[in-house]
């Protein structure tokens, strides 16, 4: 399955890139996060982060489909 990933804020700096195209066997957004998190050494746990799929907030248990654009958000800190 081909997925396009986008990184924000500290994730972008830790991954050293804005976006990444990859082939994965991860079934859900959460599985993909775990896979990527290990590779890039993300320090934040899944409970405190958020994921969006194709520009809509999603849950970690959402299934991935071929061609999805997956956005990983580190803990937010507006205001």
């Amino acid at each position: 399955m081909n997925i396009s990933v986008q990184y924000f804020a500290v994730f972008r700096e830790q991954a050293g890139r804005d976006t990444e195209d990859l082939t994965t066997s991860a079934a859900t957004a959460g599985e993909l996060f775990a896979e990527i998190s290990t590779r890039h050494g993300f320090a934040d746990s899944v409970e405190r982060c958020k994921v969006a799929i194709n520009d809509e907030l999603a849950s970690w248990t959402t299934s991935l489909s071929d061609g999805d654009v997956v956005l990983f958000f580190p803990p937010v800190a507006g205001g």
Partner: protein
């Protein structure tokens, strides 16, 4: 549009005018300003980054929730992104209502939810050192290696 992400300086006067309502007896507003310190460190500036589309949609959702939960007439919010200096207004929230209790409660609800839910991040620039991304959950900065580890 009740909630907006903007790169421009926030104009609280123009925003507050949108709250006008003949039945309104109370108006509560909140502004978040860039302050010169965080967790004991001297801050020189802040950089805000957002996913504008998702942040706007989530902000609109929060304003809608406030209008449903509290007996208020109008509610608006705006968050600025980009490079801000000490004293700059980063976020503005305003609510009008017939009575003050609902105005205060709704205003506080909106800013509390915005800070928890809207995809906006801030990077602090320190007076004496490198910069760091701030983590709303702990208030501490997240390790920022600047490169994959």
């Amino acid at each position: 549009m009740s909630f907006e992400i903007t790169e421009d300086a926030i104009d609280p006067v123009a925003r507050k005018a949108e709250l006008d309502h003949d039945s309104a007896g109370a108006c509560a507003t909140f502004e978040g300003w860039v302050r010169d310190h965080n967790e004991g460190e001297a801050v020189s500036a802040l950089e805000y980054e957002a996913h504008a589309a998702i942040a706007s949609a989530e902000g609109e959702r929060i304003i809608g929730e406030a209008l449903e939960r509290f007996d208020v007439l109008e509610a608006r919010g705006v968050h600025r992104v980009g490079y801000l200096e000490i004293g700059d207004c980063a976020v503005w929230v305003g609510v009008s209502a017939a009575h003050r209790g609902a105005a205060f409660d709704a205003c506080r609800y909106i800013i509390d939810e915005l800070k928890q839910r809207v995809p906006i991040w801030k990077k602090e620039h320190y007076a004496d050192g490198p910069s760091g991304w701030i983590n709303a959950v702990t208030g501490k900065e997240t390790p920022d290696s600047g490169a994959p580890r």
